[in-house]
Symmetry: C2
Subunit: 386 residues, 2 copies
């Protein structure tokens, strides 16, 4: 087991009607709120009304910033920061999925920074202060409600970059599974792939002695697979939604990962695709995952992939390599069942900028850890996904 740092100061209120806790949560930090959300869905499904009623009845002042994109943009962050500065906002409240929470964190940091916010994501500046962030979660996917990460896109530079800081971990998260039952099939499926990708990025690299972490990774995967299909088939199934929601948090709040090593290839490549083509993050990941597993499978890694096949997909096959391949096939089949993309063309991605995608996916001269790809490797890898 590797040394690690573990820190999740988020107060989580999980379950039915937990929105009632919202005013108390906010008042710890003030009573001037920037309310951040995406498109109209929270108005249609009643969540907007629930939140606003709680704020109004407690005389909490709020200004709205709506229209956050699925890949949240630096222009929205700039606008949010301006509003916070001009209105003496004390806390940023995101109501939505990972995009909205990531954007809320970005606004929280940007509103205490004097330069252009993109400096932070371009790693030209390290913010020292931020407004507190709170979250009302409406999608099981990113765990942004319980971690420090904020991924922001800059269409001008065709970049999608992450920044993380402990001060950006949400102070509280209202997590009502009933708030996720109206999520349509497609984003539900994308969220499932996103959750699984977070586990995969840690699970497949063998770290001697990281036994408990591997147990937790497998527990999250089995839970997500069990309830993933069910949530698609029976969208209003509370237990399915509750397990997906909590599994999503547990996949990337540190519980399943601290003490292990991070791969990173899935996310670096998906961020490159999203930066250029503004695709859904989870759908991009679902596309990449089975190809990545295929590429990573070798004599050296087959034992771990066979373990995955047996423990997650219940494949009873004594030969490691055969078991491993069946596990990967099952993964691909599962994503197909969920309606997730199988080829670049399913996402409308053309084949003319593979060099650009490869360049954007690099972390230094390479990307990845379980398998290490150069730019040329990424181009070849993309060819397979045509």
């Amino acid at each position: 087991m590797n040394n690690f740092y573990f820190y999740i100061p988020t107060k989580v209120y999980f379950g039915k009607n937990q929105v009632e806790k919202l005013p108390g949560c906010i008042r710890e930090f003030g009573n001037r709120v920037l309310l951040v959300y995406g498109k109209d869905s929270i108005k249609k499904n009643g969540i907007y009304n629930d939140v606003v009623s709680q704020l109004k009845k407690s005389d909490i002042f709020f200004i709205e910033l709506s229209g956050v994109d699925p890949n949240p943009r630096i222009s929205t962050v700039r606008e949010g920061a301006r509003v916070c500065k001009e209105n003496n906002i004390q806390i940023v409240l995101g109501v939505g999925g990972g995009s909205v929470i990531d954007c809320s964190k970005a606004i929280a940091a940007a509103s205490k920074y004097d330069g252009d916010p993109w400096d932070i994501w371009a790693k030209k500046a390290e913010p020292k202060k931020a407004l507190p962030v709170g979250a009302v979660i409406t999608l099981a996917a990113t765990a942004s409600e319980m971690n420090k990460n904020s991924v922001i896109s800059n269409p001008d530079t065709e970049e999608k970059k992450g920044f993380g800081h402990d001060m950006l971990i949400p102070k509280f998260a209202i997590m009502d599974p009933a708030y996720t039952v109206t999520v349509p099939k497609r984003p539900t499926a994308a969220g499932i792939a996103d959750i699984m990708s977070h586990v995969f990025e840690y699970y497949f690299i063998e770290v001697p002695g990281a036994t408990l972490q591997d147990e937790f990774c497998e527990g999250v995967l089995r839970t997500v697979i069990k309830y993933g299909k069910q949530a698609i088939d029976e969208p209003a199934n509370y237990e399915a939604r509750a397990n997906l929601l909590w599994a999503g948090s547990m996949a990337l709040n540190g519980v399943s990962s601290r003490g292990k090593l991070f791969d990173g290839l899935l996310h670096s490549l998906e961020h490159a695709l999203s930066a250029l083509y503004d695709i859904s993050h989870g759908e991009g990941l679902a596309l990449i995952i089975p190809y990545w597993m295929d590429a990573a499978l070798s004599e050296k890694t087959m034992h771990r992939f066979a373990r995955y096949a047996r423990n997650i997909w219940n494949i009873q096959e004594p030969d490691d390599m055969t078991a491993a391949k069946r596990g990967i096939e099952q993964t691909s089949k599962f994503y197909k069942q969920l309606g997730l993309p199988q080829k670049l063309s399913d996402l409308g991605i053309p084949f003319d900028r593979f060099e650009d995608i490869a360049a954007k996916s690099m972390r230094g001269d390479t990307t990845g850890n379980l398998i290490v790809f150069t730019k040329a490797d990424v181009v070849k890898f993309l060819e397979r996904m045509k």
Copy 2:
């Protein structure tokens, strides 16, 4: 899945040489420390020197309070609170196992309370403030480093009682598995039983839809069983100690339990035994557990006990009742292998105060949830353990 509140604000530094983080952790809260520990073991194994060197080289002022008992006493809490008040202490640092951390929390609360500290545990007063608490952990067992609980004994009233408050959750925890390799076999085994008891108190009550929690419970149990025997046989095995240490935290920091229901019988009965006979908490639990499982096994619960047998002990037996019984037998056998007590007499407990024990174990008119015991039931139960 039940509604729940989840909150662990502890900054955990886990792994080798993490004691180096101690000065930075402390300085967030001040530089006047009460250093709390137990007997001489931390002086013999070098942990005391490591901690004190870190404090001295960072010019952090500290006063020592040593001699905390395995069942920490209210008299020690009173003394600690007095020292804190007289010396303007800013943070209480416990270096030890659960007893020391529980006592440190108690001192932190008592030092900001004007009445007699026992009022808090007797539920006559609710403290509003407390000093911050930090922890350097030397034993895998209670998860006190990542939860709000503080269990204190009062020999004068023959009581052992718990109190919990969010403000008592340690602000940081230094968790170096190398600090646990010198723990002798007996407390190592007692710690293992303690960890397992925390999981058992939640695992056996079926809560529909608490699937992820059950996965995590089983992951903790398998990990603890795998490494438990190894830590006894090879005390210096780092990976065994690391897994036990982290599993101990995960068993009672909320990760495995929030969303489920608490039984409580194991701990209420053990606290009654400890209050009267000052036995080791973990050893008391190890004694009670198999008898409690036997008592709880019924047509109604056999499915869950069979699941336990199959998923934890790998028992391949199609009949639920038979599988369940074998799982309980395995549990008992495992504790025997670890050198843990099998009968009341193994702990030197006489048979003349069963009525008193029963009375002290009540929570209202009964105790327990999976099975509900009256006083008369507890007396009969104790008869079986003779």
